[in-house]
Amino acid sequence: MNSDSQSTEPVMTGSEDSAGKVADGDALSPGHPQTAGAAAARSAAGTTGSNRPAPEIMRGLRATASAPDQISILSPEGELTAHPDYPLDVTPELVRGLYRDMVLVRRFDREGNALQRQGQLGLWVPLLGQEAAQIGSGRAMRPRDMAFPSYREHGVAWTRGVDPVDILGMFRGIDHGSWNPAEKRFGQYTIVIGNQAPIAVGYAMGQRLDGAIGDDENAEASIVYFGDGATSEGDIHEGMVFGAAFSAPVVFFCQNNQWAISAPLETQTRVPLYRRANAYGFPGLRVDGNDVLAVLAVTKWALDECRTGNGPVMIEAFTYRMDAHTTSDDPTRYRLADETESWRLLDPIERVKAYLARNGLADAAFFDQVQVEADELAARFRAHCVELEPPTSERMFSRVYTDPSAQLAAQQAEHEEYQAGFADTEAVSR
């Protein structure tokens, strides 16, 4: 691999390391006893003489979005620099469309928070700050591609044509997601961290078995979303092992938003996450997750690689969770406002707006129009939410199996009888 630090090649076999960085166990396991004499001991053991490279350490990584090896196209200030390896036809329509996507998605996301605060939802999982990672990757898909989300991917859902109102059901406690995952080619939300990875790989193996890969326009690929914290789960590993073993057309898309609830990235890893791909022998790359153009370009490339039989690919979108983990969470207990503030300067929407405005690609009317659309969407979202009716008890027994079992039917009948009887008793008062 060439050692030019400007290179943003997907890392196949790791990248060089500068000698200056030294492993510091303390940084990784604070509070755990350290050996003051570690270096001395190593030297005594006669091994210091060799120039073994020390592992790169994550410390301080969170405070900056300009990590080494990171692919970017649109700077936080809205300046565009095309990337030689990830070409993208940056038309004004494209950028305006992405802007609109992000504004609308952010708007209904904020409405989700508000609805939860007002008791209309049991929970909301905000995506604030991750709009570029989600819209960029979502818009990179072709219609026949398949996406497997975790639980925060409302932006990806949007790009798959899932009506945002269909996300409300699960957070209002009336269903587990109201869209048809097979039709939308957007799986249901997966709450048990990591489960979606082997499933996505299986689906992608099916795409390959079907012969739905190649240069044909019907060729397909899959993409699976997970967080930085999720990378520690065995399932993510097994997904990658199987993905590599079967050259599955699947993109492993990690939204590294720096936090897994209260656990910062260092809790999970010493080295950047995109390096994981090395271990399995497929490309891993890191993209500025707040740069919608870079995410789009890189994900398109990755999906094409997969689609043409060269999968899998891993992408780490380096981004930030601007809001709480969920509406139940209180991030002031574990992170400093400073950090959040510094990321605010890297806002994924602002830079696109700046680019459009500065280059005269959109005028005030456009921005106003998007805002109006966003408010309309939010109003529809809210109206739909408060109107959602609770399900009837039939829903409890429905589709536990595709064909109803006699055993369960009896339980259901008994329950319905009980309810009916209870209604009678109600009438005469217990």
Binding site: D175, H176, G177, N180, P181, A182, E183, G187, Q188, T190, V192, N195, A197, P198, I199, A200, V201, G202, Y203, A204, M205, G206, Q207, L209, D210, G234, D235, E238, G239, V241, F242, A245, S398, R399, V400, Y401, T402, D403, S405, A406, Q407, L408
Partner: protein
């Protein structure tokens, strides 16, 4: 009628072959199922005949195996996966309970899950730890799964065919110490529902309900009892969840007594469940409490002790004696 004499292992192999021939969406995978044909040779010869795109060796990771099966099912395939031994299904437990069992319910039918998980189970083969377990009760406690156990070559063939044809996930338990039992199998389609309780012998003294590897023991007990002038009604449950309780209740209403036989530990088990349900449904008919002849509530013992651990003919007869002493 196409009757052939087959071992239980060969009956399963034939069922896989017939299903694969009939429907090219049926795919088979797991550890060592390809060239080796599985450690019990249940998939013997299939890779040679159907190719590596129909039957392949997975990496060594059970959650990955079940997870990819789920993904393939979403894509329209009908995966039949092998878990090498009973004790190795647990790394896939989360994938089974959190995803496989719930996806049809979660999506209200948008996803079907025609996945079969084949698991050789039970003891009696003198194996080292983790190779003799009976984990079926765990799966019976999970809504959304079908849990079945075959006990003879004919059922093995037909139940596996039915499992593969089923649009719901089936955990398919194979009685490993009966793999070499031989019997005549009619492989022509019968249209029969095999996921039902089947009465094997008629009797008046006491009902014995069992499944899988204990069936031959239960039948032997019935024979021994007959010699003593007692007639046992032996029922092969076959499907453990959903369980076809009707024939058991009907029988108990006649005999007034029930002994449930299972190799699994008894605490929070399918045997306990049968006892509880039958007592509810046949309370006035019962002359004695339902007794359970089962594994002890201990880890499976070292192999030299397994004869003591496993339900034996004598333990069954002793339980029958006990029900008669009430």
């Amino acid at each position: 009628m196409t009757e052939i004499k087959l071992t239980l292992a060969k009956a399963l192999n034939t069922a896989l072959r017939d299903a694969m021939e009939l429907d090219d969406k049926v795919v088979v995978f797991g550890e060592d199922v390809g060239k080796l044909g599985g450690v019990f040779r249940i998939t013997d010869g299939l890779q040679k005949d159907f190719g590596e795109h129909r039957i392949w060796d997975s990496p060594l990771a059970e959650s990955g195996i079940v997870g990819t099966a789920i993904g393939l099912a979403m894509r329209g395939y009908r995966p039949v996966v092998e878990i090498q031994f009973d004790g190795f299904v647990f790394p896939a437990f989360d994938m089974i309970i959190s995803q496989l069992a719930k996806l049809t319910f979660r999506s209200q039918g948008a996803w079907k899950m025609p996945v079969v998980i084949r698991i050789p189970f039970g003891g009696g083969i003198g194996a080292v730890e983790h190779h003799s377990e009976s984990p079926e009760s765990f799966f019976c406690h999970i809504a959304g799964l079908k849990v079945v156990a075959c006990s003879n070559p004919s059922d093995a063939y037909h139940m596996l065919r039915q499992a593969i044809a089923c649009d719901d996930p089936v955990v398919f338990f194979e009685p490993k110490r009966r793999y070499y039992d031989k019997a005549v199998v009619d492989v022509s389609a019968t249209g029969e529902d095999y996921f039902t309780s089947k009465t094997l012998t008629q009797g008046q003294t006491c009902t014995i309900a069992s499944y899988g590897p204990s069936m031959p023991v239960a039948l032997a007990a019935a024979e021994a009892a007959a010699a003593e002038g007692r007639s046992l009604e032996v029922i092969d449950l076959r499907s453990l969840s959903p369980l076809d309780l009707g024939p058991v209740v009907e029988s108990v209403k006649r005999t007034g007594r029930l002994v449930v036989v299972s190799e699994a530990p008894r605490e929070s088990s399918i045997s306990s469940d049968i006892a509880a349900r039958v007592t509810e449904e046949a309370f006035y008919s019962l002359a004695a409490p339902v007794l359970r002849v089962a594994g002890f509530d201990t880890p499976y013992p070292p192999a030299k002790l397994e004869e003591e651990y496993l339900p034996s003919l004598d333990r069954i007869l002793e339980a029958v004696d006990r029900t008669l002493s009430y």
